[in-house]
Amino acid sequence: MNAQAELHDMPFDVQRIRKDFPLLTRTVHDKPLIYFDNANTSQKPAVVIEAVDHFYRETNANVARAVHQLGEEATAAYEGTRRKLARFIGAGSPNEIVLTSGTTHAINLVAYSYAMPRLKPGDEILVTTMEHHANIVPWQLVCAHTGAKLKVAPITERGELIVDQFIEALTPSVKLAAVTHVSNVLGTINPIAELARATRKRGIPLLVDGSQAAPHLPLDMRALGCDFYTITGHKLYGPTGTGALWTRKELLAEMAPFFGGGEMIREVRFEGTTFADPPHRFEAGTPNIAGFVGLGAALDYVESVGRARIAAYEAELRDYATAALKTIPGLRIFGEAREKTAVISFLIEGTHAHDLATLLDHEGVAVRSGHHCAHPLMRFYGVPATARISLALYNTRDEIDRSVAAISKVRQLLA
């Protein structure tokens, strides 16, 4: 039996996992840190921090230009992450992966390179009520430029997409659909494979915002069947400023460059320029090389723990946290989809989310409060803001118990 398989057979040892994340040992306001803001950004394992550090100490050079040894090593490390990403998400080839600064960049790339030149007045882009602003605003910019219109597929009170209505909304005028895989506010996991079957049948490209899914769910692009998929590195235990766009080779080949500059060209003359093949055509300028080296280490780390094991452990945490929170009188949870990740948005009657978050911070508990970059979803629920707990593989039941005690204390203080 190889080492990896052996590890996967062992019970999930969260205390061992916690030792991999140096930041988790710090205190906040003299209390041990309880980091419950993972949907915002995750903490980084030592292997990621060390990979970035090692890159700058030993390998630093620009990519794809220098013929010297350092340049070769830097290029190999950078391209290595592209290959790892391709494996990580089940892409057909590393050449289907464009490295970006994150999901926002990836969606904007599709908006400007794919949608902008194609859409016309009368065309429509279909999104859902639960989208993050990053999957709304770029499409509004496309609409403003092309005369197309944004159309919204509704959700239920539980926070589930109404699939029938989504499919009904796929009329001939819809030229692109853009849906989040996992809601950053509700944790809802959307049935992407089912949606993709409907969009493919009608020849409508489907973009999936995978920002909140990639850190928590096993991914296989061939099984999902969507056309564009976006990744955010810093939520996936990697450095900030890293991410990716995956798309089919055929689509990538049809897309015009978005940024122009170095590294994306084949030959430049003042009369005109020929461009490099995808994916490099879309990577003008010097990228966040050290960041992508770190992201490569993060992917290795997640694979070494095992994504199925992570998902199973996080599901346990989600169920436990949900049950524990429900014991608090007056607490309302937003988003109770049957399929959801360990993201729990809530409010306590008579308290404001910001008061809650500030007071929980005093207890060492880091939660997000606010609109979570999802104004339309907040409007749907008729609240200005919620507090949000989002869990990761290093969180524990004990942390949930201590947080619930802290929330009860805050509730008594404010009520």
Partner: protein
């Protein structure tokens, strides 16, 4: 320790039992303060009929503890002031929440000095001031939100 100090007894007392909450029959000036990103809404009504001084003030709305408590404390402080005196008191309050130390002229509002350590919550305490000043200046709306992503 700062969150406990921020939500100290006097703040919680003003939050739970706000002074001068409600509306005025026959106000001379009024404005709505809206921090849309937080969802805070504060309406301030004042009666300045006599010598342009605040004879009565009421506030209403839905907001967090810091916003509500500041509005309550402010409502006690500004009675009898004219627009110029309110402007000076607002400046003094800004100094207090920016870490300049307590100011004896501000009474209970000194409890907000701790906002020095919570920059992201300062806009909450500023809303009542901005709304009152807008009302006195003849503007109908105020906000203290700038760039919140």
């Amino acid at each position: 320790m700062s969150a406990a100090v921020l939500y100290q007894q006097v703040v919680l007392d003003h939050y739970r039992k706000p002074r001068n909450r409600g509306s005025l029959d026959g106000c001379t000036h009024a404005a709505d303060g809206v921090n849309a990103l937080c969802g805070d809404f504060l309406r301030v009504e004042v009666d300045c009929a006599a010598e342009r001084r605040i004879a009565a003030i009421r506030f209403s709305g839905e907001a967090c503890a810091i916003t509500t408590a500041t509005a309550s404390m402010l409502s006690e402080l500004v009675r009898g002031m004219d627009e110029a005196e309110v402007a000076l008191a607002a400046l003094r309050f800004e100094r207090v929440i920016s870490g300049a130390g307590e100011d004896a002229s501000l009474g209970d509002l000194n409890a907000m000095a701790e906002l020095n350590r919570h920059p992201s919550r300062r806009k909450c305490a500023q809303l009542a001031w901005a709304t009152l000043r807008a009302a006195l200046a003849g503007d109908s709306r105020a906000t203290t939100e700038k760039d919140d992503p």
